[in-house]
């Protein structure tokens, strides 16, 4: 038996596989590209609040990695944010600011304001000088009224009555520029948003699949996931799927944890 020292695991990154990766790259194997959301995202201000819209395709280079991803992220009960760019970046930055907003709500005891989310996001993106590739459409209704903003990866923001971002933004913007008016009703607004996203889905290769819509008004929000599915699977196998190799269950043992934990009412710790 060879004597091996029991060395506790060192902290930090293990570079062991880097030599192997280098060798593989020299042999011609390309590393996988990061997941981008080609994307069409839009937002508009209507009579009673904000409507946000997004497509649902996530691409990895030329391949569709996710046919039904969620691009409308929750920030606060009254604020939602659509994200375009690198999927990891948009997910991470919106999650981070969403939890910062919740802490701020606990601290102040008030509903979050859209400008707070805006400032937190733009500060973070500016500090990373555009390397966090997240282009966002932030919309919400707070005590001061409805607000719609666009945020670019370098940290600049614009405040607009209607906005589009992502690779399909030109197609969607053409729809908005011809048909947008102030004080649209909810039905007209949703119809216009769906039309704009569809323009992106059908005319931009980086956008596709379904349309997600989110309607935010004072005191209420409606997240319409897959509001429109204009791209169903054409050929569906009538037999359906069967996963033949099942993992065999040998035995089952259930331990209720409540019995294992003793709740002791006690004093605060004393030295």
């Amino acid at each position: 038996m060879t004597k091996s020292l029991d060395v506790p695991p060192k902290g930090g990154f293990s570079f062991d596989l880097c030599r192997r990766n280098d060798m593989l790259e020299k042999k011609g194997l390309k590393a996988p590209t990061y997941l981008k959301t080609g994307t069409t995202i839009v937002g508009l201000v209507f009579k009673d609040g904000i409507i946000l819209g997004a497509d649902t395709r996530a691409t990895e280079g030329p391949i569709v990695a996710d046919k039904n991803c969620e691009k409308i992220h929750y920030m606060a009960p009254n604020i939602y944010c659509c994200g375009a760019g690198t999927a990891a970046d948009t997910e991470a930055v919106t999650d981070m600011v969403s939890s910062q907003l919740q802490l701020h709500r606990y601290h102040t005891g008030r509903e979050s304001r859209v400008v707070t989310a805006l400032t937190l996001l733009k500060r973070h993106l500016f500090n990373y000088q555009g390397h966090v590739s997240a282009a966002l459409v932030l919309g919400g209704v707070d005590i001061t009224g409805p607000h719609l903003h666009t945020i670019y990866p370098h940290g600049s923001t614009d405040t607009l009555p209607f906005a589009t971002m992502g690779s399909g933004s030109l197609a969607a913007m053409s729809v908005f520029e011809s048909k947008y008016q102030e004080n649209l009703t909810r039905e007209q607004g949703v119809k216009l948003v769906v039309e704009a996203i569809c323009a992106g889905i059908f005319n931009d290769l980086g956008s596709g699949s379904n349309v997600d819509v989110c309607v935010i008004t004072k005191g209420n929000k409606e997240y319409l996931r897959n509001h429109l599915t204009p791209n169903p699977r054409t050929f569906v196998n009538p037999k359906g799927f069967t996963f033949s190799k099942k993992t065999e269950v040998l035995s089952t043992k259930i331990i209720p944890l409540k019995e294992k934990v003793e709740v002791i009412e006690g004093d605060a710790m004393e030295e």
Binding site: A84, F126, Y152, P161, S169, Q181
Partner: protein, 232 residues
């Protein structure tokens, strides 16, 4: 797939102008923000408030100029509280200059600070790319300003009235918009004097027509009915 590079820094092609007159200052700007060749915002407001009596015209990188004006607004707010009276235009301009100079390697923004205070009246300070500060009777900046040097040499004069000054600014911005691809949209002006601040907005149909330009007909303004300017 992408002719438009959405990761291109959001820059304001821009034409910005600041002009003093006998009683205050007039600041003017176009409203186009471009990402590469795409117009990201055709109605942006490049004249940003720093204090009640001092405004700044932003050009260059949209992110950099927004961050600088945010910091200066914050410092000026504290300064006003500590001083007990409105900040002077000189202090505002110098705060802008300090940020622009000390971070010159990381910022790409040219600014024109203009305002009115009770000590010196109306003043204009230019803070271009390297972080110099230069007080001038009038200042021009942005990519469209190249086309205005000759115009100002001929049309500028001391001691104009408020109407003359605003007319000059409006004419100059519209001339620059006509020749500079990176400037466009509407013309916004801000007049600052002892009485306060007046914001004005001039859409395309209210601007003069220059050599070779045609009158618009069947434009969206006609088809959709002239909308009210958005209150953003």
């Amino acid at each position: 797939m992408d002719q438009v590079d959405f990761n291109a820094p959001h820059s304001m092609g821009t034409t910005i102008i600041g002009v003093t007159y006998n009683g205050g200052v007039v600041l003017g700007a176009d409203s186009r923000t471009s990402t590469g060749v795409y117009v990201a915002n055709r109605a942006s407001d490049k004249i940003t408030k720093l204090t009640d009596n001092v405004y700044v015209c932003r050009s260059g990188s949209a992110a950099d100029s927004q961050v600088v004006s945010d910091y200066v607004r914050y410092f000026l707010h504290q300064h006003t509280i500590q001083l007990g009276q409105p900040a002077t235009v000189k202090v505002a301009a110098n705060l802008v200059r300090l940020l622009a100079y000390n971070n010159k390697n990381n910022l790409q923004t040219g600014l024109i600070v203009g305002g009115w205070d009770k000590y010196e009246g109306g003043q204009i300070y230019g803070v271009p790319l390297g972080g110099t500060i230069v007080q001038q009777p009038f200042a021009i900046g942005g990519s469209g300003s190249s086309y205005l040097y000759g115009f100002f040499d001929q049309a500028w004069k001391e001691g104009m009235t408020q109407e003359e000054a605003e007319e000059l600014v409006k004419k100059a911005v519209s001339l620059a918009i006509a020749r500079d691809g990176a400037s466009g949209g509407v013309v916004r002006t801000v007049i600052i004097n002892s009485e306060g601040v007046t914001r004005n907005f001039y859409p395309g149909d209210q601007l003069p027509i220059w050599h070779d330009e045609l009158e618009s007909h069947n434009s969206l303004l006609d088809i959709l009915g002239a909308p009210e300017p958005m209150n953003i």
